[in-house]
């Protein structure tokens, strides 16, 4: 079985641009969440989606948005990129909201 897949793996953007990151959960997993991980720190929660509805949102500005599609895949969008948005963006999926999560390999975003 394929794990959680994320695309692209690496991305370089310029300040002010926007970016769309994509995630395909493990087949059968209905819960998808997004995290930002800065080097040397633990992942920071951005969004939680379950059955295509937003169930949780972390302390990130409105420049960050996400959605979950009918096939349970998900997109994370970030507008007006700042240098501080440079990080590893991780997607994770789970059977349900109260189980352990399987993480993808992440998208390394660099804003210059």
């Amino acid at each position: 079985d394929a794990g959680v897949t994320q695309s692209p793996t690496h991305l370089i953007k310029t300040r002010g641009q926007h970016v769309t990151l994509r995630c395909s959960p493990i087949s059968g997993h209905k819960s998808v969440s997004w995290y930002q991980q800065v080097l040397g720190q633990g992942p920071q929660f951005i969004f939680q989606y379950y059955e295509k509805e937003e169930r949780g949102r972390g302390n990130f500005p409105d420049r960050f948005s996400a959605r979950q599609f009918p096939n349970y895949s998900s997109e994370l969008n970030v507008n007006a990129l700042l240098l501080g948005d440079s990080a590893l963006y991780l997607c994770a999926s789970s059977w349900d909201l109260n189980y352990g999560y399987t993480f993808g390999s992440g998208t390394r975003l660099t804003v210059v």
Partner: protein
Amino acid sequence: GQQVMQIPQYQHVQEGEDFTTYCNSSTTLSNIQWYKQRPGGHPVFLIQLVKSGEVKKQKRLTFQFGEAKKNSSLHITATQTTDVGTYFCAVLSSNDYKLSFGAGTTVTVRA
């Protein structure tokens, strides 16, 4: 959201020795999860604990949830080079399903 403190931040271990990393909270936790992240990798789910005093073992790894559900520990026996990485505890919030990670314990192993 719920916050957890992990200690120590760094753990340097001689191969073959045992060590323990701790996760502490000031509030009662409904559950706690443990993840391992290898250098350059992504977090990998290890275990979830939900019951007071619960103890679970995975080969050389022993996970424990405190009686008051305010702390947890991960004990590794006979450390191997494959144990290198950062171990995170994380708490799943019951209202917004936010998974809050601790800062992690980074483990290095001396051969």
